[in-house]
């Protein structure tokens, strides 16, 4: 797939800059001699927007097309596993969360190995429980919190 690779990145940077510029509208700017909290973010947003647009424009002008690989399935599996931790870990406990997350990650490669995945999931949940809960005293439980 041939796309305008730099141009996409440049537009993304300009978009982030625009979001931060909009967010900075509420903050007092102050003056250049006596800056308020809004001055620095506003200036940075403008720099980001200009730089992003310049990158995009330069690539379009140069007509330089670079190949780009974007793996949606890997992104979905990894992102889904992280989201699972965010949603489940506190209520469902480490064992269930880790096993489900490991299965989700195992769905990314071509070959699926159910037994190995289960073993990795259980072993990993015991390991994280030992390190983070027993070792560092994090307020997490191993098994689902049934009192909820």
């Amino acid at each position: 797939m041939k796309t305008l690779r730099d141009a996409g990145g440049g537009l993304l940077i300009a978009a982030i800059g625009l979001l931060f510029l909009l967010g900075a509208r509420e903050m007092p700017l102050g003056s250049l001699r006596n800056m308020g909290p809004g001055m620095f973010p506003t200036a940075l947003s403008v720099v980001a927007i200009i730089a992003g647009l310049a990158i995009a424009a330069l690539e379009v002008l140069r007509n330089a097309e670079a190949a780009m690989t974007f793996d949606l399935r890997a992104l979905a599996c990894v992102g889904g596993a992280i989201a699972l931790y965010a949603v489940l870990m506190e209520s469902a406990g480490l064992l269930a969360t880790t096993v489900i997350a490991v299965f989700l990650l195992a769905a990314a490669p071509q070959r699926f190995r159910p037994m190995e995945t289960l073993l990795v999931g259980v072993g990993l949940s015991v390991f994280t429980w030992a390190v983070f809960v027993k070792g560092l005293g994090m307020p997490l439980s191993f098994l689902p919190d049934v009192s909820l």
């Binding site: 992280i82 990314a108 490669p109």
Partner: protein
């Protein structure tokens, strides 16, 4: 000299010794396993160091950093896959040597060169750090601002991308850094009404998201390489000792290149190893032998990347300017522990600085003592399929970042940063300038506003001393140089 001795007293404290050993072992493992870099490993470990003393915490995190340089060469030589980016050049001569049945010689060369390079880098740190500190103690806000600006511009001009991309990434990083309470006015910025955002974005979540997660996404579906690592045992290592005489000059050349490049912002161990290799090739009468398995081609880059890994701490510890993203995380770790980086650090916390320097050398001793006799174990670790590591990384990232503030908010932040980092990676935008901007941005703003407050809004105060003028000139040169070079190469080759 007395400071260094008391530093050894600090480093030899049993707890520090244990964490130094743990750090270098972990670093070595991370280095041996291709696919996980030291940056990701340090950001994963950062939450684990919160309850430690600051000195102990930094000793361990630093151990991971330079330990990875040792371990990385093992994967390069046995598997032809660089363990970390700065060991990539080692594959050129290391793997052919191993294929020829001289894996023991190649590995021993890499380990001894790493040790010698690291030691020379530490000597440079001991000699030059106090000089830089005594020079920079007279810095006022104007000089600080100039120095930080230099660090930012240097961070933006990391190789592999034009200055424009670097500036764009640095400014995005600085914008991320401006989230939270404004120090001067106490007003919240970009808090979106979420209490977690008032303290700013956590550096742990940003670093893990930008460096750890995209690595997993990009590699999780990669086909496992059919290549089997080459077998080796400790006896082959020991019997190669007498053949090391030939590499002594290469080690010194490599360490000189690495030690010089290490402190320069934006350079770091990877560039040092590439330059050391090409210098090594230019000093010999038969450069065509390089790439076919010459031990000098292993010795020079391995000495260079380890020397650079040590001297990179000079600007980080003496000026508070991180040259590489890894140093930015070390700086972030110091700040989390309530230690403000800058020229006053060495004076205010001599035990931390000199204890760290002493621990570097002890860590280097640990590494060579571990790696030479235990090479059989590391060689087997290289053979473990990479698919096992991805769930481990994700589990450690998610559980670890949860512990930063015991809330799921930071896991969501990792997800957002990871997605963004992956998209940037696909577009070919490096994440390193973003992280450097994130760490330095708030400091730049603070010193600029403080300088303007002192001078009553007079901007000429920023260039009122010879020191700050010199630093600003360096910054300008750094900005103009790539443009000039691009212009001259383009006019030299108009056809391309």
């Amino acid at each position: 000299m007395t400071e260094l001795l008391s530093g050894f007293a600090t480093a030899l404290h049993p707890i520090n010794l244990v964490y130094c050993l743990a750090g270098v072992i972990l670093g070595n493992i991370v280095g041996v396993l291709p696919g996980i870099g030291a940056i990701a490993a340090i950001s994963i470990l950062l939450p684990l160091t919160f309850n430690l003393e600051p000195t102990t915490a930094v000793i361990m995190l630093a151990g991971v950093y330079y330990g990875a340089e040792y371990g990385g060469s093992i994967a390069s030589i046995l598997l032809n896959l660089p363990g970390t980016a700065s060991n990539a050049i080692t594959t050129l001569d290391g793997y052919p040597l191993a294929r020829r049945g001289e894996a023991g010689l190649a590995l021993l060369t890499a380990q001894v060169s790493s040790f010698a390079g690291g030691t020379l880098g530490i000597v440079a740190m001991v000699v030059f750090s106090p000089l830089i500190v005594s020079f920079s103690l007279s810095f006022g806000p104007a000089e600080y601002f100039a120095t930080l600006l230099l660090g930012l511009v240097a961070g933006a001009s990391v190789i592999g991308c034009g200055p424009l991309k670097g500036i764009a990434m640095v400014s995005i990083g600085m914008l991320f850094g401006s989230v939270g309470l404004d120090l001067n006015s106490g007003l919240p910025r970009y808090d979106l009404g979420i209490p977690n955002l008032l303290d700013g974005l956590s550096i742990v979540a940003v670093a893990m998201g930008l460096f750890g997660i995209p690595e997993v996404i990009a590699n999780i579906r990669a086909c496992p390489s059919g290549e089997k690592p080459i077998a080796v045992n400790a006896r082959a290592m020991f019997s190669a000792f007498r053949r090391l005489g030939a590499i002594v000059p290469s080690i010194f050349r490599g360490a000189a290149v690495g030690g010089t490049l290490g402190p320069l912002p934006g350079a770091g161990p990877t560039i040092a190893s590439f330059l050391a290799y090409s210098l090594e090739r230019s000093t010999t009468r038969n450069p065509e032998e390089f790439g076919t398995g010459r031990i000098n081609g292993v010795a020079a880059p391995e000495a260079a990347n380890n020397a650079a890994a040590q001297t990179a701490f000079i600007p980080t510890m003496t000026l508070g300017i991180p040259g590489t993203p890894t140093m930015a995380i070390i700086l972030g770790a110091l700040m989390i522990h309530g230690i403000s980086p800058g020229p006053q650090l060495v004076g205010e916390h001599p035990d931390l600085f000199w204890g760290l320097v002493a621990s570097f050398w002890l860590g280097n001793v640990f590494l060579i003592m571990l790696n030479v006799p235990l090479i059989g174990f590391w060689a087997r670790l290289v053979a473990v399929p990479r698919r096992f590591f991805f769930p481990v990384i994700i589990a450690l990232v998610c559980t670890g970042v949860f512990g930063v503030s015991n809330s799921s908010f930071d896991i969501w932040l990792v997800l957002a940063m990871g997605g963004l980092g992956y998209i940037f990676r696909c577009f070919g935008f490096p994440p390193a300038p973003l992280l450097i901007g994130f760490v330095l941005g708030p400091m730049v703003e603070e010193y600029l506003r403080r300088a303007l407050m002192i001078s009553g809004g007079d901007y000429t105060y920023l260039v009122s001393s010879p020191t700050s003028i010199t630093i600003h000139c360096l910054t300008a040169a750094l900005l103009v140089w790539p443009c000039l070079r691009a212009a001259t190469t383009r006019s030299a080759q108009p056809a391309s």
